[in-house]
């Protein structure tokens, strides 16, 4: 196992941990705003760490750029959707 493989295992495991934490938060947190907070951490850090961990495994700069692009686009979508959901919560209240 090379140093790159060790790095991959560590980073992907850390990413998986954030996804687990985000899922637990989604199930356990008391209200919509804190649940969204938990979800965005999974999208943001979890996916980021998994992409970071996979970078040493891909061959070629374009495959690496594609992975980074996936992370950036997921970030953009996740952040925008979170804002929209929060907007609806603010307007209609928790119960809606």
């Amino acid at each position: 196992m090379t140093a790159a493989d060790v790095f991959t295992v560590l980073a992907v495991a850390a990413g998986a941990f954030f996804f687990l934490a985000g899922s637990v938060g989604l199930l356990r947190f008391p209200d919509a705003l804190t649940r969204l907070h938990a979800l965005t951490k999974a999208d943001n850090l979890g996916l980021g760490l998994i992409v970071l961990g996979l970078l040493p495994q891909v061959d070629g700069i374009f495959a690496a750029l594609k992975l980074v692009a996936v992370w950036l686009i997921a970030q953009l979508a996740s952040a925008s959707v979170t804002q929209l959901v929060v907007g609806v919560i603010r307007r209609d209240g928790e119960g809606a």
Binding site: L76, S80, Q83, G87
Partner: protein, 317 residues
């Protein structure tokens, strides 16, 4: 149990679980979200089976566009309260029986394949070099079974006509009012300015690589439609009027070009929908570009729904 097998088993169980939850849940909106998640899981399953073309179509259309249509349907207020009574026990029983019958028939077909299983894969791959294509799925859609693809485009037109004809007479040829009065949100506007350039490139890529790699007119068209819808939802673009000549030409362009190329095939030995020898690839690209545009416009209009606003007067734009 090996790791890939465990992954596939988990995926299959999760898909079944989400499907059961979607059927069982009482709230319409939650059921739609379940349906979208189910579609994405199905796309993952197709990908695991090696059918990337089907996976892309499932994600873009089965989950994406259909999900958007369903969300629009459940979030619009019902026109007359209490008009649609919930179906009685007899209707439910009939629906359950019919669904069970279809499921049983499908299961019987999947579980008892003839030996050896019939396959046209070799035949589909045999003529790829003559067509100048590398993706057998595209070859089937555009060449071997071009008539099916042509009819599919006509069905899309019929679906659009059906959606439009739900509009009251005074709104006929008007624009959809689905996103009227939506307050412009900062995040949505930002997303609608940021994402379309990326999405348009992705759509063109999906269409272009479909000659050799998974992709195609439907997937590219769905991505284009999503970008158009995003801009309309954010209020950056106005919903088009159903009576607009440009819109109608765009809607008709794909099927018209496809049909014209098909009719020109009568001049060739192969007859209807045969392509001139040596020019198969350029002709297929020539057909696919307007077809993609038409698919994008029709899918966008289907999500936008029936016109809900009277047409603007002439000269007042």
């Amino acid at each position: 149990m090996t790791a890939p097998l465990a992954l596939d088993a988990a995926l299959a169980l999760l898909t079944l679980g989400v499907a059961a939850w979607t059927v069982a849940t009482r709230q319409n909106f939650a059921a739609v979200i379940g349906f979208v998640a189910y579609g994405l899981l199905l796309a993952l399953s197709w990908q695991r089976l090696g059918s990337v073309d089907v996976a892309l179509t499932e994600a873009a259309l089965g989950s994406g566009v259909t999900g958007a249509v369903l969300i629009a349907a459940v979030s619009r207020p019902p026109r007359a309260a209490g008009r649609a009574a919930p179906p009685g026990p007899r209707v439910r029983l009939a629906a359950a029986l019919l669904s069970a019958l279809v499921a049983l028939a499908l299961a019987a077909l999947v579980l008892t394949p003839p030996e050896p299983a019939p396959s046209l894969a070799a035949a589909a791959a045999a003529h790829l070099p003559e067509l100048g294509l590398g993706n057998p799925v595209t070859a089937v859609l555009m060449a071997y079974r071009g008539i099916d693809t042509l009819l599919e485009k006509i069905v899309l037109l019929l679906a659009l006509l059906a959606a439009w004809s739900l509009a009251p007479d005074r709104f006929w040829t008007g624009a959809s009012a689905a996103w009227d009065g939506a307050p412009p949100g900062g995040a949505l506007t930002l997303l609608a300015r940021f994402l379309p350039p990326i999405g348009v490139v992705a759509a063109v890529y999906l269409l272009w690589v479909s000659a050799d790699e998974p992709g195609g007119a439907f997937q590219g068209g769905a991505v284009l439609a999503a970008m158009w819808l995003l801009a309309m939802m954010a209020g950056l673009l106005r919903a088009p009027e159903a009576g607009s000549p440009l819109l109608r030409r765009l809607v008709a362009a794909g099927p018209a070009v496809f049909l014209a190329v098909g009719v020109l095939g009568f001049a060739l030995p192969g007859g209807f929908l045969s392509y001139p020898t040596g020019f198969e690839k350029p002709v297929i690209v020539l057909v696919e570009v307007p077809v993609t545009l038409s698919i994008a416009v029709v899918l966008g209009l289907l999500v936008a729904g029936a016109p809900g606003r009277p047409p603007r007067k002439e000269g007042q734009s």
